[in-house]
Symmetry: C2
């Protein structure tokens, strides 16, 4: 008879037992309304003093928020309830009455207070909903990739060098001090860096597997305190052999359409909890809007921006641009000067690369960055030099062009930005269980 | 007409075009046998000098191993071929002829050489097979958890303290030096540690979600150089509210049965490439063998071991034990003294905990560790003291017992050990794309 809330619709008229937590309650003195949650959903249990054994009613009187409880009741259709059902309570038993002083209450709390209590804030219905949407996005991503021939290929976090030659790297000693190193130890006394992307490793993977993706935490020691930045966040990188620039965008479009479609299909209750207007999400359908970087710059300047021809787009530029259209926007062919060494140049304009960003609507901005990769050995050696990168640590990467190089492309998405967009959240800090920011690694 | 190898069985009698790599070839002077791979599978293409345009035949003559190529041919059933098909070649075009000196050849290479060339070794059919089995295990894990009400909950890597109070932690500065810290910055000048497990965070997650799992890289700065250890490896942690010790083992058993069943169902070709005898895997069915720790000790001593009553089991003990039985073995109720502070004591014997290891057969040993967690606030405070752990960093964890504590249990599996077992590999270094060991963080 022990059930979970998400199953009760199949048991109308039956008595069920549920185990979970009390997230709210009120009492008229004769009727006790218990808001019950168990992780699978929430339901109201209505106890009548006249119907319940008095010792159980007395226990209800001592209830505190977030106490763990066992409830029993008869399932009843209730159109006014969010999930269409409520329980007519027949039994109540506390498991543990919460201590006094549960820190999160009805009143508004500031973000620092909520983040200090993240381990408890997660129980709020809004945070429960965000975590379930996040799980749905992860699941849809896995499903779409597997249906399309991609294999999960877990790229390393501990790396001897940076992928893109950036400076925002977390660094640590790797068995440097106390190690009784043998003369053959390659890394004795060396540093390790936390990966910012698995892309270069994934390129090795596709030369074996054809198509591959990774999906794990990456790290940026950026000093940015913005609503779009975390120091630790989850990134999905995908890479495919024999896919060129145009095909790369087709893959991205199909993946994003699938994610949004699945969130709309499976997470209506969660989006409702979050107050997310789903109308904009319903408009996310292929084909997406496409602009070249040059076209995007022209639009921004027509709107009064003083952005230069060969400038990268800033966050504000992206925000404005995405507010003008209903679908996500591909911006392609950025100036080579503002992009990474491994991007293939546009054969029609050598000052530009065959890359794209994908900007989410409603001001959310960049959620994906992708490109066709340079596959010619000599050209790639030259690019490393142009970017002032020591070719030695990239020797293994150059091997991928020495031995059976093929045209290939890939992209990466930032999970937290996609969660923020689909959930309609302003700040990415709510989109990950335990956010890490420049001034926060607790709890 | 562009297809992939895994699709050709649907195109018997048709001409198809494939893009991929030449992994081997031989020529009789009149017939050229090209072993072709494209990531989805391998197929032999048979070219006849008499049938092929001479300029294409000349290109075949210049072929080198691991060159990238486009081939066309007519699909023909061929019972002697591993996948039942071959191609009668009609067209050949190299994409890039590999440079001379592809380092990996037919001869035996030592492990260090292969690991130095891991980015290329991954193309070996054996490594391709391992990566595909790994992907299958990951996929089955996600599917099983989602079918059973678990939500993915990504626990953090950067943590301010150790989960189990162990010393094998990688440590780094977290914005300590150059940061223009505000007085409110909590972690200015502080250290961060790379997580060894997400368990404690997952326990916070289930108080919101009911059931949750994580699956990501974890880190151990262990100086062990054994066939079972990596410094970076992938761990899956699962946790469930209202599940006690016995139920916890039921979940583990069902998950492992599903994984093995799916690998047998979907990865026959890969297991064949690896020469894996599948008979032992077919015997992995519920119910698994169960021993208490005390029973396991008695068996080991009967076999001549001098292991003490309250000793932990060593790797050699596990190896021997698992060679005696055909199913995995649960060993439960270890001495509290050798286990972590958060494990709940056995009410029948306070010197022992309600934990289990799960040992894989054929000598593979520990693949899972799990336990019921202590859910009483006062008891947990006492356990921290007994383990000489400062309670301050665990204050948030204690909150989970202050506010709505519930009985709960969980476990973690080491992905690489499960891959090694199912693939029949001796060493875990082949089970992850880019292994990190005490003396290796390259390539």
């Amino acid at each position: 008879m022990h059930k979970i809330v998400s199953e009760i619709s199949q048991h109308t008229g039956e008595e069920v037992e549920l185990k979970g937590w009390c997230y709210n309650f009120r009492s008229s003195g004769k009727i006790f309304f218990l808001q019950f949650r168990d992780g699978s959903g929430t339901v109201q249990v209505v106890y009548s003093k006249a119907e319940l054994p008095s010792e159980q009613w007395d226990l209800l009187d001592q209830l505190r928020l977030e106490s763990s409880v066992i409830v029993r009741g008869v399932v009843k259709a209730e159109p006014r309830s969010p999930n269409g059902f409520e329980l007519t309570g027949t039994f109540f038993q506390p498991i543990q009455i919460a201590q006094e002083g549960y820190p999160i209450g009805k009143k508004e709390h500031g973000p620092d207070f909520l983040l200090d209590n993240r381990h408890l804030w997660l129980r709020a219905e809004s945070q429960w909903a965000v975590m379930r949407v996040r799980d749905r996005i992860i699941t849809s991503t896995f499903e779409w990739f597997h249906e399309n021939g991609f294999i999960k290929f877990d790229t390393p976090i501990l790396t001897p060098t940076s992928c893109e030659g950036t400076t925002d790297l977390f660094q640590m000693d790797y068995f440097s001090d106390e190690q009784e190193g043998s003369p053959n130890d390659q890394v004795s006394g060396s540093k390790a860096y936390l990966a910012q992307s698995g892309q270069l490793y994934l390129e090795a993977g596709i030369m074996s597997l054809g198509r591959a993706f990774d999906f794990g935490p990456v790290f940026r020691a950026e000093k940015s305190k913005t609503r779009r930045h975390l120091t630790e966040f989850w990134m999905m990188d995908a890479e495919a052999a024999f896919v060129e620039h145009e095909g790369n965008m087709v893959i991205q479009e199909a993946l994003i359409c699938r994610i949004v479609e699945d969130v709309l299909k499976h997470c209506q209750a969660e989006l409702k909890v979050l107050g997310r207007d789903t109308a904009p999400l319903q408009k996310v359908k292929a084909p997406f809007v496409h602009f070249t970087h040059a076209e995007a710059i022209a639009k921004l300047r027509a709107n009064g921006s003083d952005i230069g021809d060969m400038d990268d787009l800033g966050a504000d530029d992206e925000t404005w641009l995405t507010q003008q259209y209903e679908t996500p926007i591909f911006v392609e062919k950025y100036p080579a000067a503002v992009k990474a060494f491994y991007m293939k140049r546009d054969p029609q304009d050598e000052t530009r690369v065959l890359n794209n960003d994908l900007l989410a609507p409603e001001g959310y901005g960049e959620i994906i960055g992708g490109s066709q990769r340079e596959d010619d050995y000599e050209t790639l050696v030259q690019r490393l030099a142009e970017h002032n990168l020591d070719p030695k640590p990239f020797d293994w990467y150059l091997d991928l062009r020495r031995y059976g190089s093929v045209p290939h492309s890939g992209f990466g998405y930032g999970l937290e930005r996609i969660v923020a967009w689909t959930c309609g959240l302003h700040h990415v800090r709510e989109t990950i269980p335990f956010p890490r920011m420049i001034n926060r690694i607790t709890p």
